[in-house]
Amino acid sequence: MWGYVGRRILVLGPMLVLVSVVVFLLLRWGAGDPALTYLRLSQIPPTPQALADARSALGLDRPLGAQYLGWLARAVRLDFGTSYVTRRPVLGDLLYYLPATLELAGVSLLLTIVVSVPLGVLAALHRESLLDNLTRVLAFTGVSMPSFWLGFLLVYAFSVQLHWLPPMGRGGVAHLVLPAITLALMSTCINIRLLRGSLLEHLHARSVLYARVRGIRERWVIGRHVLQNALIPVVTALGMHIGELLGGAVIVEIIFAWPGVGRYAVSAIYNRDYPVMQCFTLLMTVIFVGCNLAVDILYAWLDPRIRFGRENTA
């Protein structure tokens, strides 16, 4: 299994370099002129002389390849440039806001798992029961609900009307409740149905029938033989949910004035603060890829076919 993990990590490096090339090229081919933006945000009148100075200061007059290699050389030393707006190193700014985003996304992920696993199991065990049908309705609702609307509905109900929870900002646990629910709803709904479907498939597997024939306790059959196998597709989907959570976090941060990287990035996009946009996109992609790697490792560990299959070939 470790050979498999090692190979996955080795592929990751070149992939991330390619990602950075794509991001770099898109920025250069985009509609805007970074030098002009730089002058506008520095409030310097864009005279031809000032533009030429800004171009050479930002290295825009050099050939594209040289620009990229220069950027890469600095990026390897974790220097992603300075923000045109705040004049501080971009990575420092982003890392300052990152913990808030990770807290929000992490709690939402946890909420998703804690809620969807028991509900999925119950829905599968009591098929066509009231609970099963309720989760079906919930699944449709959750998948179709725009998070920015759900957020406002929750704020309206629990902050404006009931005064139970704060409508915005970051603070104690109370501040986390509404944003986390808003962010977690969609993944939770998808997960419940996914787990239910997967469980139903495995409930009728031969190994389960055999376990029952051997007289093993039902609780053990469900836990050991059904749930563990049924979790495999759910774990695979988890990687996809993490991407959705990172994107969804941006919207949730805006609704609840949550001081995370998403809010910082959206204002950077308004301003066309190119170094921030570039670093934000790369940072989120690295987190996404890292989480997917973790998911793949978990998957290999859960699924003996992969664990042993790969070891034999390695």
Binding site: M15, L18, V19, V22, V23, L26, L27, W29, G30, A31, G32, R127, E128, F140, T141, V143, S144, M145, P146, S147, F148, W149, F152, L153, V155, Y156, V160, G197, I242, G243, E244, L246, G247, G248, V250, I251, I254, A265, V266, A268, I269, Y270, R272, M277, F280, T281, M284, T285, F288, V289
Partner: protein
């Protein structure tokens, strides 16, 4: 799945199709359905409660809420149609080339798809908007550009299986040209599958479009787009929650109306998608 033919489920499907039909009608006939110009500002009549003339009231600039909701259907459905069309063209071109050419072309194109699938979708769409600028056309480009890779891989997989089918092999033996085989025997079934897969995805794409618009990165005011309307009304959550309630309800119902038939199609197609798709 379990209750494929249950009356409740069939009723839901019919209801969803009726909603889609109504939305399409509203989109096509907006100028006749809407009583007012959706962008006509009248500050003297701002934040009016529901009443004569405008039965859902007016927004903070005195624009008729109902008219804006009706025109919103036009924007929502229009963008999604454009996005799906763009994705179909892009993924067919890349997927067919990769599946048909094979060899290094195939390898190169598939690595390019992998590369696009490495990014978190919404984050990449935000970045593209940052690069291209905001506005309707750029939102369409950004969403299409972030979703095509998955479709291209499915097209390639479909082409690879279809290539081995007996009728295609027979056509080749009979001396039919490559281009003709592609157009006559490969494209139609691929297109049918893709159209169905795109239907499954429409709700999701709509949420992305209105999400970007909500952030101020998508369709721009004064265009009557539902996400924009919610963003416009944010500061009135305390006093005029209806301004947020109705546009959100429209997004919710529209996305749901597209998800319900999608779910039925998924049940019908599940084995096909599972064995031939990603």
């Amino acid at each position: 799945m379990s209750c494929e033919g249950s009356p409740v489920r069939r009723g839901l499907l019919v209801a969803a199709l009726v909603v889609i039909g109504a939305l399409a009608a509203a989109a096509l006939l907006a100028p006749w359905v809407a009583p007012h110009d959706p962008t006509a500002i009248d500050l003297a009549r701002k934040l009016q409660p529901p009443g004569k003339g405008c039965f859902l009231g007016t927004d903070h600039l005195g624009r008729d809420l109902w008219s804006r909701l009706v025109y919103g259907a036009r924007v929502s459905i229009g963008t999604v149609v454009a996005i799906v069309a763009l994705i179909l063209v892009l993924s067919l071109a890349v997927g067919c080339t990769a599946g048909y050419a094979g060899g290094w072309v195939d390898a190169l194109l598939m690595r390019a798809c992998d590369l696009f699938l490495t990014f978190p979708t919404f984050i990449l769409a935000m970045f593209l908007i940052g690069v291209l600028g905001t506005g309707l056309v750029n939102v369409i480009l950004a969403i299409a550009f972030t979703h095509w890779a998955w479709y291209a891989r499915i097209v390639r997989a479909l082409v690879l299986t279809l290539k081995q089918r007996n009728y295609v092999l027979a056509a080749r033996v009979a001396g039919t040209s490559r281009g003709r085989i592609l157009i006559r025997h490969i494209l139609p079934p691929v297109l049918a599958q893709l159209a169905i897969l795109a239907t499954l995805d429409i709700g999701h794409m709509m949420l992305h479009v209105s999400g970007l618009s909500f952030l101020g990165l998508g369709v721009q005011p004064p265009t009557p787009e539902w996400g924009v309307m919610i963003n416009d009304a944010r500061q009135y959550v305390w006093t005029q929650p209806a301004l947020i309630l109705y546009p959100g309800l429209m997004i919710f119902l529209t996305v749901m109306a597209f998800n319900i038939p999608g779910d039925h199609l998924r049940d019908v197609l599940d084995p096909v998608v599972r064995t031939q798709g990603a």
